[in-house]
C-alpha cells in the first residue's frame, strides 16, 4: 500500500515537472534570446552561443524605436487609468449591488447586452469621436478610452459586494448613517481584496493592449505604448534584425508585471474566484 502511494506520487511529480517545463520553457527562451548577440529571428538552438547586453542598450539609445519613452508613456497611462478605472468600477459595482433604484434591473440587463458586442466593432467610431474633440494620437485619448471601458466591467466586483452581509448596512442606517457614510466607512474597508484586484487588472491592461492603442495612436511613434511599440518592431521588414531587441523589451515589460502578480497573488486568486462563483 505504502509503496503504491509512493509510486503514484512519483508519477504525479514527473507529470507536474514535465508540464511546468512546457509552460516555463518559452518564457526562459525569451529571456535567453534577449541576451543573444548572434543570429536573428530563427535559430536552431536553445542556449545562445554568445551573451551580450547590447539588445537592452539598443532599446534605450536608438531614436527610431524610443523604448524608454514608450515605457514612460505606458506607465503614465497605466497609473492614471488604473486609478480612475478602479474608482469608476468600484463605484458602479457598489451602486448596482447595494443601492436600490428604479432602473437598476434594466441597467444590469443593458450592460450585459452592451458587453456582448465585440469590443472593437466600435473602434473606428471611437477614433472619429476622439478626432471630433481633437484628441487623437494623444495619451489622454487612450486614458479616456480605457477609463470609459471600466464603467461596464463591474461584474466581478458586483459579485463581491453582493457577498457582504446587508445587515451591516442596516445596523449603520439605524444609527443614522447616510448611504455615502456606509459606502465610505463600512463597505470600502471590507473591499480591499477586490480593489487590489481591480487596480491590478486595470494597471496591467495598458501594457498588454495593442489593438485600441494602435488605432488611436496611428503613426505617432512618440506616443506609442510599449505593446504597440514592440508589436510594430515585429511587423516591419526589420523584424529579423530587431528580434533580440524585441525579446529584451518583452523582458522589461514582463518583469514588473510578474513581480506584481506574484506579490499580489492572493488578491488575484480571490478576485478571480469571486468572479467565478458569482458569475
Amino acid at each position: 500500500m505504502k509503496n503504491k502511494n509512493k509510486r503514484t506520487r512519483m508519477i504525479v511529480y514527473t507529470i507536474l515537472t514535465l508540464l511546468a517545463v512546457v509552460w516555463v520553457l518559452p518564457i526562459i527562451w525569451i529571456v535567453l534570446t534577449s541576451f543573444r548577440s548572434e543570429g536573428g529571428m530563427f535559430v536552431d538552438y536553445f542556449i545562445p552561443h554568445h551573451f551580450t547586453l547590447d539588445n537592452y542598450k539598443m532599446l534605450f539609445t536608438n531614436s527610431t524605436y524610443p523604448f524608454g519613452r514608450w515605457f514612460m508613456n505606458t506607465l503614465i497611462v497605466a497609473v492614471v487609468s488604473a486609478t480612475l478605472s478602479t474608482f469608476i468600477t468600484v463605484v458602479m459595482a457598489y451602486s448596482l449591488s447595494r443601492l436600490k433604484f428604479r432602473w437598476r434591473g434594466r441597467f444590469l440587463q443593458g450592460a450585459l447586452v452592451l458587453n456582448m458586442f465585440p469590443g472593437f466593432m466600435s473602434m473606428i467610431a471611437i477614433y472619429y469621436i476622439l478626432k471630433a474633440i481633437g484628441l487623437t494620437q494623444s495619451l489622454v485619448a487612450l486614458i479616456l478610452v480605457y477609463v470609459a471601458g471600466a464603467a461596464l466591467g463591474f461584474y466581478v466586483q458586483k459579485g463581491f459586494f453582493d457577498t457582504i452581509p446587508i445587515s451591516l448596512d442596516e445596523s449603520a442606517m439605524l444609527d443614522g448613517a447616510t448611504k455615502w457614510d456606509i459606502f465610505r466607512t463600512i463597505t470600502l474597508p471590507l473591499s480591499k481584496p477586490i480593489i487590489v484586484y481591480t487596480t491590478l487588472m486595470a494597471f496591467t491592461g495598458p501594457w498588454m493592449d495593442f489593438i485600441f492603442a494602435r488605432v488611436i495612436m496611428g503613426d505617432n511613434i512618440q506616443n506609442y505604448t510599449v505593446a504597440i511599440g514592440l508589436y510594430t518592431m515585429m511587423t516591419r521588414e526589420s523584424a529579423n534584425s530587431l528580434f533580440m531587441a524585441f525579446a529584451a523589451g518583452s523582458v522589461l515589460i514582463a518583469v514588473p508585471i510578474i513581480i506584481l502578480f506574484i506579490a499580489l497573488q492572493r488578491f488575484f486568486v480571490e478576485g478571480m474566484t469571486s468572479g467565478a462563483v458569482k458569475g
Partner: protein, 445 residues
C-alpha cells in the same frame, strides 16, 4: 396623513398654472417655488437645446436621411475662371453627427421629463402643505437616497459617449453601402437597407461567412472545454495529498499568465514557424525530414491554435479550481472513502460536479470570450493560412478576426458591421439559453 401620489399626467391636468407653464418653459415651477439653481438649470438646458437645435440640429437630422448629396470634385469657379476642388459632404461624419444629434435629443427629452417630474413633486408638496426642499437638502439627498445619481452619472456619460454612440453608429453602418468603393471623403455612401445582411447570409460573402461561423463555434467549444478539463486536472494534481511544493508549481503556472499575451503568442508563432526552432531542431535530430506545417496548413493550424490556447487558458482554470478545491466539503469525501469509493469515483461523482456547478457561469463567459478571442488567432496565425475560397479570410480566421480584417485591410465597413451584429446575436442567444439552463440547475440543486 395619507398622501396620494399624482402621476405627471394627472398633475398637468389638475395642477396650477406654474405646473402647466413648466411644460412649456422648463424650470418655471422650480423658480417660482424658490428652487433658484434647479430652475435656472432647467431653463438653461431648454434655451441651449433649442438654440443648438435650430442652428445645427435640424440640418444634422436632414443629413442623416440623405447622408450627403455633394460629392467631392472639381467645380468650375466663374470668378476665378478655373476648376476649384470642392470638398463635398463626408457621409461618415454626417452619419456620426446625425446619430449624436439623436442622442442629444433623447437626453433633452429625458431632462424635460425630469423637469416635469420635479414640478409634479412641488405640486404635490403644495397640495399637502409641506415645505419645499432647499438646495442644501437636495444636495444632502445626493449623499443618501440619491447616492446612485451622484456615483453613476459620470460613468454613464462615459458609456453613452464611448460605447452607445459608437455602437449605434456602427449598427447603422450595416445598413449602408460604406465599403471600399464608397470611401468618404472622396465618395458618398447611402442607405441600402438589408442588402448587406442578405449578402452575408445568402449572397457572395455567404461562402466565407458560414465556414467561418462553423469554425468559430468549433473553436469556442474546443477552447473552452480543453482549458477547463485540463485546468481542473492540473489543479487536482497540484493539490493531491502528499505533494510538496504546491506553491512553487502554482507560481510557475501563474507566471505565464503575467506575461502579456501578445509577447507569448508572438514567441509561439516564432517557435512553431516553418523555419522556427521546433522544426529546425526536429530536423537536425532527423526526426522529420520536412518542417511540420504547424501554422501553414489549414487543419494543422486549427489544431495548433487550440493547443496553444490550452497553454494560455489552463493556468487560469487551475487557479480558480484550486480556490474551489480548498473550500470543498471534506466530510462527504471522507464518507465516500470509508464506503470504499476509489479516487476516480470520488472525482467523477463528488468533486467534478461541484467544480462544474461553481464554475458554470464563468464557463459561459469563457465561451463568449472565446467566440471573440481576437488575440490568440490574430497573433498566432493572423487568421492564416489564407484561403482563396474565402473573401479576405484564412482557415483559422474567427468571425471576429475577419471583422477586423474587413475594417482595417479591406475597408468594407458595412460587411464588418453586419458580422459584428451577427456575432452579437450568436453570443446573446447562447448566453440566454445557457443562463436559463444554469438557473434551472441551481434551483434544482
Amino acid at each position: 396623513m395619507q398622501t396620494q401620489k399624482l402621476s405627471v399626467r394627472e398633475a398637468l391636468k389638475v395642477g396650477d398654472w406654474r405646473m402647466k407653464l413648466s411644460a412649456i418653459i422648463m424650470g418655471t415651477s422650480q423658480l417660482l417655488h424658490g428652487q433658484i439653481l434647479k430652475g435656472l438649470w432647467f431653463l438653461a438646458v431648454e434655451i441651449s437645446f433649442f438654440t443648438w437645435f435650430f442652428a445645427r440640429g435640424i440640418k444634422s437630422l436632414q443629413s442623416l436621411i440623405t447622408l450627403g448629396t455633394h460629392k467631392q470634385g472639381f467645380v468650375f469657379d466663374k470668378k476665378l475662371g478655373i476648376n476649384v476642388l470642392h470638398q463635398g459632404d463626408n457621409s461618415m461624419l454626417l452619419l456620426l453627427f446625425g446619430v449624436a444629434t439623436i442622442l442629444v435629443v433623447v437626453i433633452f427629452f429625458y431632462q424635460y421629463w425630469v423637469n416635469l417630474k420635479s414640478a409634479r413633486k412641488l405640486q404635490e408638496l403644495d397640495l399637502y402643505h409641506k415645505s419645499i426642499p432647499t438646495l442644501k437638502e437636495d444636495l444632502s439627498a445626493l449623499l443618501d437616497s440619491k447616492l446612485h445619481i451622484l456615483l453613476m452619472s459620470v460613468p454613464v456619460a462615459g458609456v453613452v459617449a464611448f460605447t452607445i454612440l459608437p455602437l449605434i453608429y456602427m449598427i447603422s453602418i450595416a445598413f449602408t453601402n460604406y465599403d471600399h468603393n464608397h470611401l468618404p471623403p472622396k465618395n458618398l455612401f447611402s442607405w441600402v437597407g438589408f442588402e448587406n445582411l442578405g449578402n452575408v447570409l445568402g449572397g457572395d460573402v455567404a461562402s466565407t461567412f458560414f465556414p467561418l461561423l462553423g469554425w468559430t463555434i468549433v473553436w469556442a467549444i474546443m477552447a473552452t472545454v480543453t482549458s477547463f478539463l485540463f485546468g481542473v486536472l492540473l489543479a487536482m494534481l497540484i493539490n493531491a495529498k502528499g505533494i510538496k511544493g504546491k506553491k512553487v508549481y502554482r507560481t510557475l503556472f501563474i507566471l505565464t499568465m503575467a506575461v502579456p499575451q501578445f509577447i507569448t503568442l508572438l514567441i509561439m508563432n516564432n517557435l512553431l514557424n516553418d523555419s522556427g526552432m521546433v522544426n529546425t531542431m526536429l530536423m537536425n535530430w532527423h526526426v522529420i525530414s520536412h518542417p511540420l506545417p504547424f501554422l501553414t496548413d489549414g487543419t494543422w493550424a486549427k489544431v495548433t491554435v487550440i493547443i496553444v490556447n490550452m497553454w494560455i487558458g489552463i493556468p487560469a482554470t487551475m487557479l480558480v479550481t484550486t480556490g474551489i478545491l480548498q473550500n470543498l466539503n471534506q466530510d462527504q469525501i471522507e464518507a465516500a472513502e470509508i464506503d470504499g469509493a476509489n479516487k476516480f469515483q470520488i472525482f467523477r461523482d463528488l468533486t467534478f460536479p461541484q467544480i462544474l456547478f461553481v464554475m458554470a457561469p464563468s464557463l459561459i463567459q469563457q465561451f463568449i470570450g472565446n467566440i471573440n478571442n481576437f488575440n490568440v488567432i490574430f497573433l498566432l496565425t493572423g487568421g492564416g493560412p489564407m484561403n482563396s475560397d474565402y473573401y479576405n479570410a484564412g482557415d483559422t480566421d474567427l468571425l471576429v478576426t475577419w471583422l477586423y480584417k474587413l475594417t482595417i485591410d479591406a475597408a468594407d465597413y458595412n460587411l464588418a458591421s453586419v458580422i459584428g451584429i451577427l456575432i452579437f446575436t450568436l453570443s446573446a442567444v447562447f448566453s440566454l439559453f445557457a443562463y436559463k439552463r444554469v438557473n434551472k440547475m441551481n434551483n434544482l440543486g
